[in-house]
């Protein structure tokens, strides 16, 4: 029987469906019999979702300040001019 420790170790492979068939069966059997690991799996999943949502929600692709756009375009012009100088 797979131990709880091993279940914890296989969580990422499980979530990415990368467990081989034998391990998958042992993993599923353990979860069936172990409410603690079921709880852990559910909250592990919830953690990943919360992280993504928290990082994405308040940081949408925003309007960018005009000064920054101007600075970026100016840095390109400078780079082009420098390249030109070297060619001469």
């Amino acid at each position: 029987m797979m131990s709880c420790r091993e279940v914890y170790g296989f969580l990422d492979e499980f979530l990415e469906s990368r467990l081989d068939d034998l391990t998958k069966v042992a993993f599923a059997a353990h979860l069936l019999l172990c409410p603690a690991c079921r709880n852990y799996l559910a909250t592990y999943r919830a953690t990943l979702l919360a992280a993504r949502e928290a990082e994405w929600a308040d940081c949408p692709p925003t309007e960018i300040p005009e000064e920054l756009i101007a600075a970026i375009l100016a840095s390109r012009t400078a780079a082009v001019q420098n390249a030109g100088d070297h060619q001469c």
Partner: protein, 200 residues
């Protein structure tokens, strides 16, 4: 932000031809997205803006060699990630704390030391308000830097293992181990909010 492929091909051709207006279009279309990437990685507005600017400088330089097989947005996203990582590396390094205290502990027989409760039904609360989302981001920020970065690249910026390994200059195995630990550690930090005591 999705630009139709036809328009993107035209834009790319104009960029390669060195048309000024094409560069401005590129910057206006993608800079917002790039700024949010840099903000997530750097957590510092000034550094994030610098990183975006540096990212575009490398993009302008690289546009002739850009293969055109990836979408421009994906290519720029990667460049923004790289520019942010470069900034991170240039920061003064503090000695990194250990992540061990945040990892689940086990007894001799392989059982976890702490019996996890299922707080997942309450987990949506974590992202309900700006304040709770800030709490979650604060927990991510508590991870030791090398772990925080891997979690961001894999779970938030959605690089795959090989891509994350490449930008970080480490092996795939190192990325997997760090990601695994980072996720467990973040879970421990979030669980504390639901009354699950941290392992010791």
């Amino acid at each position: 932000m999705a630009v139709p492929l036809v328009q993107e091909a035209e834009l790319l051709a104009a960029l390669r031809a060195g048309q000024e207006v094409a560069f401005e279009t590129l910057v206006r279309t993608h800079s917002g997205q790039m700024l949010s990437v840099c903000r997530r990685i750097l957590r510092n507005e000034e550094e994030a803006k610098d990183a975006v600017q540096e990212a575009f400088v490398s993009a302008f330089r690289g546009i002739q060699t850009f293969a055109g097989t990836a979408r421009l947005g994906t290519w720029l996203h990667r460049i923004a990630v790289n520019a942010s990582l470069m900034k991170l590396r240039s920061r003064k390094r503090r000695p990194e704390e250990s992540i061990d205290d945040l990892l689940p502990g086990f007894q001799e027989d392989g059982h976890a030391r702490i019996q996890p409760r299922d707080w997942s039904p309450s987990a949506p609360q974590l992202v309900e308000t700006r304040e709770t989302r800030e709490f979650v981001r604060g927990c991510i920020d508590q991870l030791p830097e090398t772990y925080r970065v891997v979690l961001l690249l894999r779970d938030i910026e959605e690089l795959d293992t090989a891509e994350a390994a490449e930008v970080l200059g480490v092996s795939d195995g190192v990325v997997k181990v760090r990601l695994h630990r980072a996720r467990h550690a973040l879970r421990t930090l979030l669980a504390a909010r639901f009354g699950e005591r941290a392992s010791s």
